[in-house]
C-alpha cells in the first residue's frame, strides 16, 4: 500500500495535465483510495506513469554479439555489485543487469526489444530472465521469412496469417516486425531491394506486398500492436521517396514506421543528405493510420545493430570499423558496426537535426514516440538530454552552435520555435507508446493501471530532472530513490497468442524438415522455463 500525496500529476491518457492529485496504490495497481501504508509527500514534484520504451535493442543474439564485439565499449563504464544488485558493464551495449537498472534509474519501467529473429527467441527470453525491474517483450522479425515469402508468391494469404499467428505464439513474441522486407532475403546472396516494387527474386513477391499483407495480418489477428516497419533503403540519401511510397502503399492500414529519422533523407545515393522531414511529416499529420518513433541521433560513440544485413555492410564500408553479419536460416539477418556520430560532420549534423525536426513538426504527439533506436542513434540513457532539447529552445539553440553550420542551415531546425510541455513529454515517453503498443494498463495512472510511477523533483534543467527521478515505483514497490536501487525485482514478459487454424502446422513441419536444421518439435519456446513471469495480452 502506498499513497503519493499532492504531486503535480501528468497523466495524458486520463486528461490530467499538471493538476495536484493523490495517487493511491494497492497490490501493484492504482486504486481510488487506500488506508495506511507508506506515504510519499510529492508536493512540488512531478508525477508521471513509468516510461515506456517501444523500440530498443536490449536482448537476444544480435545484442549479445555486439556485446562480445565491443570490449572497449565496456571498460570505461562499469557498475559494481552492491548487496542488492548485480554488477555489469555499460557503454552503448550494456550487460543485461545494467540495462534493467539503468532503465529503472531513469524512470522507465517497460521496454521492448524491437527485432528478434524467431530462431533467437529462446535466447532473448533467457536474457530477459537476467534483465531486472522492467517489464519487457519483443517484436519478432517476419519481413524476410521464407515461409511467408513463398506463400505470398503463391498468393496464399490465409496461410501467411495462420503462420504469423503460430510464429508469434511459438516464439512468445509481442508484435510483427518487418526489417527491410525482401532486402535481407536477397542479401543472403549479396543482393538487396531498392524500391518497394522490386521483385524478391526467387519468391515472386515484393516489399509492397509483404508490407501490405503483414499490416492486414496484424489487424485481422487483432494484435495489440500494429505492424512495426523498418522501411527499405535505411540510411541511404534519397530514401525519403521509398518512405513516402511505403506510407502511400499502406493506404489506410494501421502501421508504425520506426526510427523514421533514418528514412527521411533527400539527395542522391552516395551523396550528402538533405532533410525531407517537412514532406513526410505532412503526410503523417494528415494520415491518422500512421505512427512513428524517431530514432534520434545524438553525438558520440555508439553501436549500430540491425536486422538489416545489407545496411550493416554499408556502414562497414563507410566507417571501415569492425563488422559483424549473421544470416539466419530461412528467417532473417543481422549487421553490427560501431559508429561515432560527430557534431562537426555534415551528415551526422543533418541526421541530428532531422530527428529533432520530426519531433517538432508532427502535430499529434500521440503518434510520435521518443526513441533513439537504442543503441543505433544513441544509448537510451540519452533520453533526458533529448527531452531537454525538446522542452528548452534556448538549450537547443546553444547546441545548434556546436554543430556543422552549413548542414544545419539546410534544415528547418533553426526556424522551429516549438517547445514541448511536460504534458507532451508524458505523451511521447509513456502514454503514447503504451497506447501504440496496446498496453491498456500501462502509460497511465487511472484506477486499475499498473502502479508503475515515476516522481521527479522539478528542475529547470530538464535533463537533470529526467535523468535522476526522486522515486521510481514498479508494481507498487519503491524500486529507486534518489538514484539508488532500493529493491531488485524482475518484471513480466508480455506476449500474444492469437488464434489460428492448426492445419497450418503440417505445412510448417514440412518446411522445417526441408530447410531448417532444428526439429519443428524443438523450436517453440516453453512458457514455464523461459517466461516464468509472463502476461498474455489479449488479441481482438
Amino acid at each position: 500500500m502506498l499513497r503519493i500525496l499532492n504531486g503535480e500529476v501528468y497523466d495524458p491518457i486520463n486528461g490530467v495535465n499538471g493538476e495536484v492529485r493523490d495517487i493511491c496504490v494497492q497490490d501493484g495497481k492504482v486504486v481510488a483510495d487506500v488506508q495506511g501504508g507508506r506515504t510519499i509527500d510529492a508536493r512540488g514534484m512531478v508525477v508521471m506513469p513509468g516510461g515506456v520504451d517501444m523500440h530498443a535493442h536490449i536482448a537476444g543474439p544480435k545484442v549479445n554479439l555486439a556485446r562480445k564485439m565491443r570490449p572497449e565499449d565496456h571498460r570505461g563504464d562499469v557498475m559494481p555489485r552492491t548487496p542488492l544488485t548485480r554488477s555489469g558493464v555499460g557503454g552503448s551495449v550494456p550487460s543485461t543487469f545494467t540495462t534493467g537498472y539503468r532503465y529503472a534509474l531513469m524512470g522507465y519501467t517497460t521496454a521492448f526489444d524491437a527485432a528478434v529473429a524467431p530462431l533467437g527467441a529462446r535466447h532473448a527470453h533467457e536474457e530477459f530472465l537476467d534483465t531486472p525491474i522492467v517489464d519487457k517483450g519483443f517484436f519478432v522479425l517476419m519481413g524476410n521469412n521464407e515461409f511467408i515469402l513463398q506463400r505470398l508468391g503463391a498468393g496464399e494469404r490465409e496461410r501467411v496469417r495462420d503462420f504469423a499467428a503460430w510464429l508469434l505464439e511459438a516464439t512468445k513474441a509481442y508484435a510483427i516486425k518487418l526489417v527491410n522486407p525482401g532486402g535481407v532475403e536477397l542479401w543472403k546472396f549479396r543482393g538487396n531491394v531498392h524500391t518497394i516494387d522490386d521483385e524478391v527474386a526467387g519468391f515472386g513477391t515484393t516489399p509492397r506486398q509483404i508490407m501490405q499483407t503483414m499490416a492486414d495480418v496484424a489487424m485481422e489477428l487483432g494484435l495489440p500492436h500494429r505492424v512495426h516497419i523498418h522501411c527499405n533503403n535505411l540510411g541511404i540519401a534519397g530514401n525519403w521517396e521509398t518512405t513516402l511510397e511505403t506510407m502511400k502503399a499502406l493506404d489506410g492500414r494501421r502501421a508504425h514506421l520506426t526510427h523514421i529519422q533514418f528514412h527521411s533523407y533527400g539527395g542522391e545515393p552516395g551523396g550528402l543528405f538533405t532533410s525531407k522531414v517537412a514532406e513526410l511529416a505532412e503526410y503523417v499529420n494528415t494520415h491518422p493510420n500512421l505512427s512513428v518513433d524517431v530514432g534520434q541521433v545524438m553525438f558520440g560513440d555508439t553501436t549500430s545493430m540491425t536486422g538489416d544485413g545489407p545496411l550493416g555492410y554499408l556502414l562497414y564500408q563507410v566507417t571501415g570499423r569492425k563488422w559483424a553479419n549473421v544470416d539466419i536460416e530461412t528467417e532473417e539477418g543481422c549487421g553490427i558496426v560501431p559508429i561515432e556520430y560527430k557534431d562537426k560532420n555534415y551528415i551526422h549534423t543533418t541526421q541530428w537535426a532531422i530527428g529533432l525536426e520530426w519531433f517538432l513538426l508532427v502535430q499529434d504527439p500521440w503518434r510520435i514516440a521518443l526513441t533513439t533506436d537504442h543503441p543505433n542513434g544513441a544509448s537510451f540513457v540519452a533520453y533526458p538530454r533529448i527531452i531537454r532539447l525538446l522542452m528548452d529552445r534556448e538549450f537547443r539553440r546553444e547546441m545548434m552552435q556546436k554543430v556543422h553550420q552549413k548542414a544545419l542551415a539546410k534544415t528547418l531546425l533553426p526556424e522551429l520555435d516549438r517547445e514541448y510541455s511536460l504534458y507532451e513529454i508524458a505523451i511521447i515517453t509513456r502514454a503514447g507508446p503504451a497506447r501504440l503498443l496496446g498496453l491498456k494498463h500501462k502509460g497511465h495512472l487511472g484506477v486499475g493501471a499498473d502502479a508503475d510511477i515515476t516522481i521527479y523533483a522539478k528542475d529547470e534543467d530538464r535533463e537533470k530532472m529526467f535523468a535522476t527521478p526522486r522515486y521510481v515505483i514498479k508494481d507498487g514497490r519503491v524500486i529507486v530513490e534518489d538514484g539508488h536501487i532500493r529493491e531488485e525485482t524482475y518484471g513480466r514478459t508480455f506476449y500474444v497468442a492469437p488464434a489460428y487454424d492448426q492445419a497450418i502446422e503440417a505445412e510448417i513441419r514440412d518446411h522445417f524438415d526441408k530447410y531448417y536444421t532444428l526439429c519443428f518439435e524443438n523450436y517453440p519456446v516453453q512458457l514455464e522455463h523461459y517466461l516464468p513471469q509472463h502476461e498474455v495480452v489479449a488479441c481482438g
Binding site: 554488477s87 551495449v93 549479396r190 563488422w323 559483424a324 530461412t330
Partner: protein
C-alpha cells in the same frame, strides 16, 4: 518407451533429432546419433552407485558437501571458477553469480579452444551465419584445421556437405569441399581438395590468400615453407571468389597452433575481404556441447565471453591475466571451483599441480582426475540425459535439452544455487 527429438549435448553440433528407447530405466536403443553421441548416452546413462558427494575422499551428504565447499570458497582471497562448457546455461548463470559474490575469476574452456576466435571477433567483427544457411546456400565449404569426421561426426552429413537445401537441391553435388590441415585426416576423404599445410604456417598461407583474393602479386618463393604452391593457393582463391555462398569452418588446428589469435584474425580478415566480392561466412567449430552457451551467458551477464575477473566488484576482461591456465600455473588462485570439466587431465601439468595444492571443489557427472584431487567433489546429473536446460549450438542457436532418464543426483544448477546461497550467508551479503 521411445523418446523422439532428443538433443545430443556432447559436441557443438547439438543434433536434435535423436530417438532413444528406454526400457526398465535403461537405454536400449539409440537412433540417429553418431559414434560420439552414442558413447555419451551409453556412458553417462546408468551410473547410480557413487555417493552424491565426497569430502576429502569420504562419502558425504549433499548438505555437508555444500557447507564445506562454500566455506572453502568463501575463505579464499582469489578463487577461480572454471569449466562450464558441458553444462546448461541455467547452471552457467548461477556460476557467474557465484563468481561475483566470491570476487574471483571465472573462465571457461573457450580460453583453451576458441578464445583466439573470440579475440578476432573483438578486433574485427565476424561475418557468419547459422548452419541452416550452410545447408540451404553454401556451394563452397572449407574446413581449416578441423577434422569433423572425428570431432563432429555428423557435421558434414547434417549441416555442411551432403544435405539438400533450398538453393542446394542436389546436396553434395552442389558443393565443393576443401580441407586444409597438417595431415590427411579421415575428413580428407570427404574433400574435393585437400591442402596439406606445414604446421605453424597457417598465418602465412591465409595472408597470401588475402593478397590473391585482392588480386595482388604473391611470389612463389614466399610460400616455400608453407608446404603449398602458388598454383594451389591461386586455385583456392579463385574458388573462393567464384563461390556464390562460401563458408570457412575453423578448428583448433588454427586457433591453438602457433600464431593463435593472429591466425584467427587472418582468417576473419580473409572472409571479410571475400565479402567485397561474394557472400562468405566463417563459423568456429566449437567443441563441447555448450561451450558456445557459456560464452553467451558470460557476455550478457558481464560483457565479456571468457577470462573475467570480478575482484573489484565489477567485470574486467584480460586473457592471459584472468584465464585459467595463466592464473593457476602462476600459482595465484588459492581455491578453485571446477564445473563439468577435467583440467587436471587436460590442461598443462602446472595447473593440475596447483589444483592439488589448493582447496578444489569439483562438480562432474563422473569420476575424473580433477574430482580425485578435489577436496569436495559432487556427483551431478548429466545435462541432456538426466536434466533439461538450454544449450547453444556452435552457431549460437539456442536449443532446449530433453530429459531421457531420471537421476538420483542433483543438477549442476541445483548444486551451484545451493553453493551461492550458502556463500552469501557466510559472507553475510
Amino acid at each position: 518407451m521411445q523418446i523422439d527429438h532428443v538433443v545430443c549435448a556432447f559436441c557443438g553440433c547439438v543434433c536434435d533429432d535423436l530417438s532413444v528407447t528406454v526400457e526398465d530405466g535403461r537405454i536400449t536403443q539409440i537412433k540417429n546419433a553418431c559414434v560420439l553421441g552414442k558413447a555419451w548416452l551409453q556412458g553417462h546413462a546408468n551410473h547410480t552407485d557413487r555417493p552424491v558427494a565426497r569430502i576429502d575422499g569420504q562419502p558425504a551428504t549433499l548438505e555437508q558437501a555444500v557447507d564445506t565447499a562454500a566455506r572453502l570458497l568463501a575463505q579464499a582471497r582469489y578463487p577461480m571458477i572454471y569449466g562450464l562448457s558441458s553444462t546448461t546455461c541455467e547452471a552457467q548463470r548461477q556460476a557467474v553469480a557465484l563468481a561475483e559474490v566470491l570476487g574471483g575469476c571465472i573462465d571457461c574452456c573457450t580460453s583453451v579452444c576458441h578464445g583466439p576466435s573470440g579475440m578476432a571477433l573483438q578486433g574485427l567483427g565476424e561475418p557468419t551465419c547459422t548452419l541452416g544457411e550452410v545447408k540451404n546456400r553454401a556451394d563452397l565449404v572449407v574446413y581449416w584445421g578441423s577434422n569433423p569426421a572425428d570431432s563432429h561426426p555428423r557435421h558434414m552429413a547434417r549441416y555442411a556437405v551432403t544435405p539438400k537445401g533450398m538453393f542446394t537441391p542436389r546436396g553434395r553435388k552442389d558443393r565443393t569441399v576443401v580441407l586444409v590441415d597438417v595431415r590427411p585426416t579421415p575428413s580428407a576423404r570427404a574433400a574435393d581438395v585437400f591442402l596439406q599445410i606445414r604446421p605453424g604456417k597457417d598465418f602465412e598461407v591465409l595472408w597470401a590468400l588475402r593478397a590473391l583474393v585482392k588480386g595482388q602479386p604473391v611470389e612463389e618463393a614466399s610460400l616455400a615453407d608453407t608446404g603449398l604452391t602458388l598454383a594451389q593457393l591461386t586455385d583456392l582463391a579463385e574458388r573462393m571468389k567464384r563461390a556464390r555462398f562460401g563458408v570457412l569452418f575453423i578448428g583448433q588446428g588454427l586457433t591453438q597452433s602457433r600464431g593463435k589469435h593472429m591466425n584467427t584474425s587472418a582468417a576473419f580478415l580473409l572472409v571479410r575481404d571475400l565479402n567485397a566480392i561474394t557472400k562468405f561466412a566463417l563459423i568456429p567449430m566449437r567443441g563441447h556441447g555448450n561451450v558456445t552457451g557459456i560464452d553467451a551467458v558470460m557476455a550478457w551477464q558481464t560483457g565479456f565471453p571468457f577470462g573475467v575477473n570480478l575482484s573489484l566488484g565489477y567485470p574486467r576482461f584480460n586473457p592471459g591475466e584472468f584465464t585459467m591456465v595463466d592464473v593457476l600455473s602462476r600459482g595465484e588462485a588459492d581455491a578453485a571451483l571446477i564445473v563439468a570439466s577435467d583440467p587436471v587431465a587436460n590442461l598443462p601439468r602446472a595447473v593440475g599441480k596447483r589444483l592439488a595444492e589448493i582447496p578444489t571443489v569439483a562438480l562432474d557427472t563422473h569420476e575424473s582426475e580433477t574430482t580425485r584431487v578435489a577436496r569436495v567433489a559432487f556427483t551431478t546429473a548429466t545435462a541432456g540425459i538426466h536434466v533439461e536446460g538450454t544449450v547453444y549450438r556452435m552457431d549460437n542457436v539456442p536449443i532446449r535439452l530433453r530429459q531421457v532418464l531420471p537421476s538420483p543426483y542433483p543438477s549442476d544448477e541445483e548444486v551451484l544455487r545451493r553453493l551461492l546461497a550458502r556463500v552469501k550467508e557466510l559472507k553475510a551479503c
